[in-house]
Amino acid sequence: MRFQDAAPDARAIVYAGIQSDPLVARAAALLADATYEERLLARAVMNGESTDAESWRIMFPSLFAAGSGNERAAAILDASLAVAERGEQVRSQFRGAIVEALTELLLRRGNPAAPPTAIRRERRILFDGVRAEIHPYDVTIEIDGAAAAVDCKWGARGISADVLHQLDDARTHAADDDERLRAVLVIFDSLRSCGVRLERQTAPQAGTEIVGLETLDDLAAPAS
């Protein structure tokens, strides 16, 4: 099993510009420390219609109760509105890039001793005698014995047969080579909605870990 940078195509080059936007790093850093409800705030605002901060403060009374001084929630609201104020197509790309950056940050927390190059973005995984997948994985952990292929989605609707097959194929090819590879699908959406989407999928999913909005912090748990 080998990891390799994906060959950049036109889409990847444009997307790389989004990924490197400071707003992505700012939002991801805030969300890495956030509670479930603060992450839900980000999800709602980044795909909402209103760009009026006061409306959102009213919608989340437990975060913005008078005198609560929740600075992190305020900063998340601010960053999320900055995403929402972009055009529809651009905000969609920002949302995806933020979930990927957040995933990478949390995985680094779970592997504090790992060198920076052990956790990477946009990498393909190659196996001897197996045709390589065209699409790279969003995040990979490249540590012997604790490797992982991770894909990230904004919403449960992003769960598809293609995504499940690609993750499961990587896991099974690794097993064929007597290597262990975790297959992980991170979805910035409720596990209830993910379960609904998964229920009608016939693609293999038993070997893939599903991480939802409520369980994102599991990514930062020490790798076992």
Partner: protein, 108 residues
């Protein structure tokens, strides 16, 4: 956050909040159904969240809602009502009940 003003649209009990929210949810369903390829997903998603709301209503229907929580419910229903794009409506079929439940002090 400014003090909440009383309004007929602001529910005063959990039951009233969920009653109103059901209409909002059905509005999102009708919009999301316009995406032909996702018709079944829209039905499944709506069923799953209706079931969750039923459970909350069954246990807490008569419970009074603090004014700021009632205002939150009214505002998130209004926000969902602004959505006109069917694809965004599908996304909000998941987001809306989560925000509603958070306003009611519930987990998803």
């Amino acid at each position: 956050m400014p003090p909440v003003e009383s309004s007929p649209a602001i529910p005063e009990t959990i039951g009233a909040a969920i009653d109103g929210a059901r209409d909002t949810l059905e509005g999102l369903v009708a919009l999301g159904e316009e995406v032909d390829d996702e018709w079944q997903y829209v039905q499944d998603l709506a069923d799953a969240w209706r079931d969750r709301l039923d459970v909350v209503e069954a246990g807490r229907s008569d419970e009074a809602l603090l004014p700021e929580r009632g205002a939150a419910v009214e505002r998130v229903c209004a926000e969902a009502g602004l959505i006109e794009d069917p694809h965004r409506a599908i996304d909000w079929l998941s987001t809306f009940p989560q925000v509603l439940l958070a306003a009611l002090g519930e987990r998803p």
